[in-house]
């Protein structure tokens, strides 16, 4: 007797359909085996399935049972095949037909309950794409799958409940998608208003958030670089629907969506430590998993102590920063993950950290400082739109200054401006592939960035005077575009270019 159950396998963010074929032979010695390139987790599935069925008070047939995961040549990984295999076996014992046009996906616990399974969202998306009507998933993962409309999602608690449903005794209710309230909680660690002074750096952060620009902050320890970066999380606008789905897909595959979790709404903020390996940042493994840069997709990748990161890790950022995707090639498979992140980096001005510090003397020689700066490669610096110094300020004095207090805006106020600027960009790029100003390529710049004549003149003059590279030249225009958007201006004026020039790369002479 042969039963076929539909399921799905993930290869990066791509999903392929898997037919789980369960055959119970009429003769032969009792055996329970899985074929079709199962990984260790899949091979162990048979023990989980057998025990779960047994613990659900269903008799496990003493027959020759062979499970084939077709297509047989695709490597299978993960625990999501427990449910389809169990359904195949139980259907033969309890004598019901496995419903056609239904997809089963989920991990079993030994007691017969279903566990939260990673990649459920992608399985649901696959179901919709292939016109599959019903999808049965663990109840904890059901909300994630219910994001996809056009597919009936059934959240299954345990095997017995599913059996009752399939026998038609007691039906499981379809799951409706519910937004998780906590998903849109903006509270960052720090509010912008808590940071005394640093007006220039705050403005840079605001521009970065509004246009998705990369940003480098240089300053002595304790100047407030990390604080500024953490406060950035609080002024970012929520993800758009399209972006939210992209991000949730990555998080779903990585198994980073909590049980009962909904769509990711807030922009991710990733801050890996500088001991991270290359595979950690780009993603990897024999079955490639997304790395930090993919987890930071549509959000922020914050690299504190930028100079301390291994060169290989920093250089690995180059290509994804340009292309917005990263392809990991391994012997068994090749996987692409999106990686359009905003890089926020912070660095000390010298090895001891106190170069130009108002009170503490710097103990580094000029050569040491030079060597230290050279550790960040030129190509990476050239890809950073906003360069800003974070000087040490007398916090006590500034916080006593009433006027300064008035100037310190709260994150909520800044966020309003950022959201407005993003709206302008969404409208501008409505029929284009890019989402934010920072993503513009040269052809977009000539299309969307009209410079007033005086602005053009200032730019030309400064490009000669400040020795801007061709890339920096266009970066200035992009940043000016964002500044104009923040001020709701259609055309880029002289003031916008001039302000953008403040954040140009600092040269060696300014050491």
């Amino acid at each position: 007797m042969l039963v076929k159950v539909m399921s799905a396998a993930h290869c990066g963010l791509d999903t392929i359909g898997i037919d789980v074929e369960v055959n119970m032979a009429a003769r032969g010695l009792p055996i329970f085996d899985i074929v079709g390139l199962p990984s260790k987790a899949v091979a162990e599935s048979k023990e989980r399935v057998r025990t779960a069925i047994f613990n659900s008070d269903i008799e496990f047939p003493q027959r020759r049972i062979i499970v084939n995961l077709a297509p047989a040549d695709v490597p299978k990984d993960g625990s999501c095949y427990d449910l389809p295999i169990a359904v195949g076996v139980v259907s033969m014992v309890m004598n019901f037909d496995v419903p056609a046009n239904s997809l089963f996906f989920g991990e079993l616990s030994l007691d017969g309950a279903l566990r939260h399974t990673k990649g459920t969202l992608l399985a649901a998306l696959y179901a919709r794409e292939k016109g599959v009507k019903n999808i049965f998933v663990p109840v904890d993962s059901a909300n994630e799958a219910a994001v996809v409309d056009g597919v009936s999602v059934f959240g299954v608690k345990n095997l017995n409940q599913l059996t009752a449903h399939l026998l038609g005794q007691q039906l499981i209710e379809q799951v409706k998608y519910q937004d998780n309230k906590e998903a849109i909680n903006h509270d960052a660690e720090f509010d912008m208003a808590e940071i005394a002074g640093q007006t220039q750096a705050k403005r840079a952060i605001e521009i970065a958030a509004a246009g998705g620009h990369n940003c480098l902050m240089v300053g002595s320890p304790g100047a407030g670089k990390t604080m500024l970066a953490r406060a950035l999380a609080g002024i970012l606008p929520v993800l758009t629907e399209r972006e939210s789905l992209e991000v949730t897909k990555i998080y779903s595959v990585a198994g980073r969506i909590a049980a009962g979790g909904s769509l990711v709404k807030l922009r991710p903020f990733r801050s890996p430590h500088h001991t991270i390996s290359q595979a950690g940042i780009t993603g990897g493994g024999s079955i490639p998993q997304p790395g930090e840069i993919s987890l930071a997709h549509r959000g922020v990748l914050f690299l504190d102590e930028f100079n301390e990161f291994p060169r290989s890790v920093v250089e690995a950022l180059r290509q994804p920063m340009e292309d917005g995707t990263l392809t990991i090639s391994r012997s068994k498979e090749q996987v692409s993950y999106p990686s359009r992140f905003m890089l926020v980096a912070s660095a000390n001005p010298c090895p001891c950290g106190y170069l130009h510090h108002p009170t503490r003397p710097c103990i580094c020689s000029v050569r040491e400082v030079e060597k230290y700066r050279k550790r960040i490669s030129g190509p990476i610096l050239d890809r950073i739109d906003l360069h800003v110094d974070v000087p040490v300020v007398d916090v006590e004095e500034l916080s006593r200054n009433a006027e300064m207090k008035k100037l310190q805006e709260s994150s909520a106020v800044i966020r309003e401006r950022v959201i407005k600027a993003r709206k302008v960009q969404t409208q501008r790029f409505a029929c284009d592939t890019v989402c934010a100003n920072a993503e513009m390529k040269n052809r977009h710049i000539s299309k969307y960035c009209r410079l007033l004549p005086e602005a053009k003149q200032i730019l030309l003059k400064s490009s000669a005077r400040f020795a801007l590279s061709a890339r920096s030249y266009f970066k200035v225009i992009k940043v000016a575009r964002t500044i104009a958007d923040l001020g709701s201006q259609k055309e880029i004026s002289c003031d916008h270019i001039a302000e953008a020039l403040r954040y140009r790369p600092k040269l060696k002479e300014e050491l």
């Binding site: 007006t199 003149q457 400064s462 005077r465 300014e510």
Partner: protein, 292 residues
């Protein structure tokens, strides 16, 4: 429609008239304003321009054009085109002497530059009518117009055997000042200019070298610039006279929103009044002297 001016005309450029074999008739495009010929600087160089040559041409020409000199060159690609381009970018006037008939654009792909020269009140000149094709011998012929129009000639990059050296020889023959810009000694396109310097051409290292010859005082220019600063800029300069400041201090002092302050600071930096390093804004030394 091309217009022409005869050598007998009073408005024919005087300097050009002095040279032996001056063209009897000059076809031109653009507005003939005799003033354009007052202070002419010929900038010529190799077609095989290096990055070094391009940057140096740009720096020299920008300063010269801003000081009001007319840049004369031969509209060839390479240094010639870079000189014309830098001049129009600085909104200066420039004259292109063509080796072909006045109705041709040669090389044709530089048509955008051609238009920009005319848009910035520049002139296109040729001694050949209509659509005369350029010939091997018309290029050196054209060079005598370039050298003849100008009080001084600057050679930026040239190989030992090149049209630029012909222009240089002509300039010398006409008793005009000759400038040459030194370049890397291991580069083919530096050999010509280095030889010129060896033979007595004046070395041009910075714009002031040339401007002094024209009697233009850059100090006077910077005074003009200083007087041109806006009240806001003046306020910032006055604040910085008492020592370098961080942005927060400046904000409290001048009471401006950060975006406007940043923009003004950039303009001040662009005009050489201030510098930013180590997170502080510093007044440039020469500004400090004058302010003090």
């Amino acid at each position: 429609m091309a217009k022409a001016i005869e050598i007998t005309n009073k408005r024919y450029p005087k300097l050009l008239k002095q040279i032996p074999g001056a063209p009897s008739k000059l076809y031109y495009k653009g507005k003939w304003d005799p003033e354009i010929f007052n202070n002419c600087l010929a900038v010529v160089g190799s077609r095989r321009m290096t990055r070094y040559g391009k940057d140096c041409t740009r720096a020299m020409v920008t300063a010269a054009a801003e000081a009001g000199l007319t840049i004369v060159s031969g509209f060839m690609y390479g240094i010639d085109a870079a000189a014309h381009q830098a001049a129009v970018d600085a909104k200066g006037r420039t004259i292109a002497a063509m080796p072909c008939g006045i109705d041709l654009i040669h090389p044709a792909y530089q048509d955008k530059l051609y238009q920009e020269i005319l848009d910035n009140n520049g002139l296109i000149l040729s001694e050949y009518p209509a659509k005369t094709e350029p010939q091997n011998w018309t290029y050196p012929q054209r060079n005598r117009i370039v050298a003849g129009l100008s009080q001084a000639t600057l050679v930026v990059e040239a190989a030992l055997k090149s049209g630029s050296l012909i222009t240089a020889r002509l300039a010398r023959q006409y008793k005009r000042r000759l400038f040459a810009m030194p370049g890397p000694v291991n580069n083919v396109t530096s050999q010509g200019t280095l030889k010129l310097i060896n033979d007595g051409a004046q070395m041009a290292v910075c714009p002031q070298d040339i401007l002094t010859f024209y009697g233009i005082d850059t100090a006077a220019i910077s005074k003009k610039q200083r007087d041109a600063v806006s009240p806001l800029e003046k306020k910032i300069i006055t604040a910085l006279v008492f020592g370098p400041m961080e942005i927060d201090e400046l904000i409290l002092r001048v009471k401006l929103p950060i975006n406007e302050l940043s923009a003004t600071l950039s303009l001040l930096e662009l005009n050489g009044f201030i510098k930013e390093y180590s997170g502080k804004y510093h007044l440039n030394a020469e500004v400090l002297d004058r302010a003090g």
